[in-house]
Symmetry: C2
Subunit: 351 residues, 2 copies
DNA sequence: TTGTATGCGTTATCAG
DNA sequence: CTGATAACGCATACAA
């Protein structure tokens, strides 16, 4: 038996219109009728019918997603595809979801934020790539009472409605535990990455910290951990040599841990020099990484369900806004372990 | 701009009622008006409004799920929890979803099938645990034109609307690839399992086959693969001894592969004898397995997203029935690799 | 064979 | 401050 708005109107001895105004706090009602109505709602256990609401609704809900341009970093294609999945899943609701892209520079990010604030959305999903700029954006959104969700990068300060993404420390520890399992006695680990100009914030350091922490807590064995940071401002052949020279100098290195999503760069060098004798472990299921995984130049990839980042964030915001559901402030995604055998079944990657 | 039923009625020069009868093929219309209407639908690109339809609908959709009783095998708790998630997700639709449990015996399965057929459901989700009985159930459902989805176990013969579950061969290969990574030179593998009376069908053999296949394709090394099948019709202390004697007789066994979900049984024996020097790899995230994983008596678990099995199956059937969506005949779930570091983030296990 | 009217539960407008 | 009522898009019983 379904409780409708008229049922509680009857019970409270008022009309449906009044109940509606009280439920949506549109004003124009007295305190004592409010109390009567709320009591009736409690007693009968009223829950609104989403379908009927959506049918009767005049105005749409506006949600906007601010994501780095995938032309610059391929990674962002997958969260965007998750957003598209959410869009089609919510197609029958009166909600419009837009995606705004920004180039990974502070000025472009700020311009995009401005633009979004102008459009007065009902909710925002964004990647807080720059610490300071993200905080001021969060503040402006809070001032306007617009709820927002962070994806991929977690800032404890900004106090978003929710964070959707992985715990990068846990991801680092997971990678380390696999390394510990694969590493032979008296062999060493190299933490290597090819990085662009200094990123203000990325998972890089947390993934390294988690990795180190794991080994600190375990028996240390005879293994050592080396570090090699290669800057991309040199030409390609230059950093090829830099890596190979390092590896030749430390012949007991058996395993290479690449804490950013560019393991494929390391793999391409190893392929060039026909060195399949290393175990390489990297992050993120970019198509380039998958190619080398299947060729055997990358052995393990830690996945972070990039698609779910976009999908969950939008769904969560929608449910909070439309159905007024309570939300978890943390939506921690799994730390997925992928290799050549299970990659084909991952996140509908091959569809 | 939204195309409604009256829009195509206008365009075709008929009334809304006629369009409705044609769309739902309720008869009582002439061929030539049918053509006119279908042309209009094509040209205007009509898609029904799910919300309005659900609101206007009188009768509900009945979906029934036939699942083994989790009191007997704990595994089934998770698919059932996935079904419950689907139920709450579909709460606002006019659909009722029931779960029927059966004890893992042919006679009980058959009785449950009878009962379901009596109730004349619109769609069925079931675990085809017994080959012959499942095929005849499938046939009866087909005769009545009732679509059905198989979960967990795949029978190519029965021709279900879809199969939701893992590829067990791929799961075996994935386990093998991890073993290959962890195994030290000149050390051996034991495939061990404690089984009840012969199961008619389970993933067991496929998981073993996939495992063996992987090693067949790789350089064989000096490693050997041993097999040990322990029957549960002895008393506990009996099979404790059987395992330990086997391990003592083959001191170079470093790794134990348990292809069914009862790795915790093996782990409990190893714990009793304080043997942490083996790498144990098992299947399924039963609470018992997770406990030993965290204690270090199990090292790796292959997960099959048991919860998604139930959830996806119901959602898929609902979408096929209610929104008349096309469905993939295969809904292959990922092969998840879990260890002590990433288990806490898996499938909302810890919520 | 076809058209019309009513209802589903909610929102929103307008008259009291 | 409050009540009545017309939409929203579709299904369906009933009238023609």
């Amino acid at each position: 038996m379904k409780i409708r708005i008229v049922d509680i109107a009857d019970k409270a001895g008022v009309s449906a219109g009044t109940v509606d105004r009280i439920i949506h706090q549109r004003g124009r009602y007295s305190e004592k009728t409010k109390e009567k109505v709320e009591k009736a709602i409690q007693e009968l256990g009223y829950a609104p019918d989403i379908m009927a609401r959506n049918l009767a609704l005049k105005k749409e809900l506006h949600i906007v997603c601010l994501i780095p341009n995938p032309n610059d970093t391929k990674y962002w294609e997958r969260p965007i595809s998750g957003i598209h999945k959410a869009i089609s899943e919510l197609a029958s609701f009166k909600v419009d979801i837009k995606t705004v892209l920004f180039l990974p520079r502070k000025d472009d990010f700020k311009i995009a934020c401005e633009q979004i604030l102008q459009s007065n959305p009902d909710g925002v999903v964004y990647v807080p790539m720059f610490l300071q700029e993200s905080l001021s954006f969060a503040e402006l959104l809070n001032d306007k009472g617009i709820p927002f969700v962070h994806i991929n990068i977690h800032h404890s300060l900004a106090n978003p409605l929710s964070y959707v993404g992985q715990d990068p420390i846990a991801a680092g520890k997971t990678a380390a535990s696999l390394c510990a399992m694969a590493l032979q006695k008296n062999h060493h680990i190299l933490i290597a990455y090819i990085s662009k100009e200094k990123q203000e914030y990325s998972h890089l350091q947390d993934r390294i910290d988690g990795f180190i922490q794991y080994f600190d807590h375990k028996h240390s064995d005879q293994s050592q951990i080396f570090h090699l940071d290669i800057k991309t401002n040199k030409d390609e052949s230059e950093y090829d040599k830099q890596l190979m020279q390092y590896l030749n100098k430390h012949p007991n290195i058996q395993l290479i841990y690449v804490p950013n999503s560019r393991a494929y760069k390391i793999a391409s060098i190893l392929k060039k020099y026909k060195r399949k004798d290393f175990i390489v472990i990297g992050f993120d299921t970019l198509i380039e990484n998958i190619t080398y995984l299947k060729e055997g130049y990358i052995d393990l990839i830690i996945g972070q369900q990039s698609k779910s980042q976009g999908f969950n964030a939008v769904m969560l915001l929608f449910n909070a806004l439309f159905r007024k559901e309570a939300v978890n402030p943390q939506n921690l995604l799994p730390v997925d372990i992928l290799n050549a055998e299970n990659i084909d079944f991952y996140e509908g990657l091959m569809q």
